[in-house]
Amino acid sequence: MLVNQFLILAAVLFCIGVYGVIARRNAVMVLMSIELILNSVNINFLAFALRNGSVDGHVFALYIIAVAAAEVGVGLALVLLVYRNRKSIALDELSEMKG
């Protein structure tokens, strides 16, 4: 197995996630795209851990999984709060702070 096949797979997933963050209007869908991005980063960490024969990449991958879980919890609570106040979670309608 080449190093590059994992790194390029991670790059493809990362770019799909970036497209989702830019294109999606629904806040839940944006959070899902962020999960794609975080997963591609994890694949990178584990590929480099295998390449360098070190365990540090595994530790970082576990920390990323934990932080992603916290991020989804707080993010969905925020989405719920926005929905309760506005009856909509369309991100382009949240423009009160526009100068």
Binding site: N4, F14, I65, A66, A69, A70, A90
Partner: protein
């Protein structure tokens, strides 16, 4: 080695198709189910990369907990569960050149710096004991900070989502 490459190819194709469906499908619940496919494929790739413990954690945390959160979030924020026309921004097409440009730059950088470098084939599975020795040894302080992050996230989610 050939078997591993074939497995990688099949799983990678499934993951890319699933990820594309996540960002293009017009139904939030279907997008969440496609995301399950991508996350399961990522867990399989972790096994190929000799990271069994991370793969199991991925299945438990992402497919078990995070997806349930997503489905609850979908359920609590939407009246109807069918198709929706307004899932994309009016300027969604701007994402295509942005992500393709990013992908081109990344693939160029990766091929020029790693080329045909091979992964070591004789490496053993990383034992859970080795990972825990790292977490509770040199990485103890980040682990501590992480437990505070999780505590704050739990309290914050309760405070934000509660009705009063």
């Amino acid at each position: 080695m050939v078997a591993q490459n074939i497995a990688f190819g099949i799983i990678a194709a499934i993951m890319v198709v699933g990820a594309l469906r996540v960002v293009t499908v017009n139904n939030v619940v279907h997008a969440a189910l496609w995301l399950v496919l991508v996350l399961a494929g990522a867990a399989a790739q972790y096994v190929l990369l000799t990271a069994e413990f991370v793969a199991v954690t991925q299945v438990l945390v992402y497919i078990g907990a995070v997806m349930v959160l997503f489905l609850f979030g979908t359920m609590l924020t939407r009246a109807q569960l069918g198709k929706e026309k307004q899932l994309n921004n009016p300027t969604w097409y701007l994402g295509i050149p942005a992500s393709l440009l990013l992908l081109g730059v990344m693939i160029l950088a990766l091929t020029s710096s790693f080329g045909d470098e091979k992964l070591p084939t004789d490496s053993e599975l990383v034992s859970t004991q080795a990972i825990s020795d790292q977490i509770f040894g040199p990485y103890l302080l980040p682990f501590w900070a992480l437990s505070f992050v999780l505590l704050v996230a739990v309290i914050g989610a309760i405070v934000l989502a509660r009705k009063d």
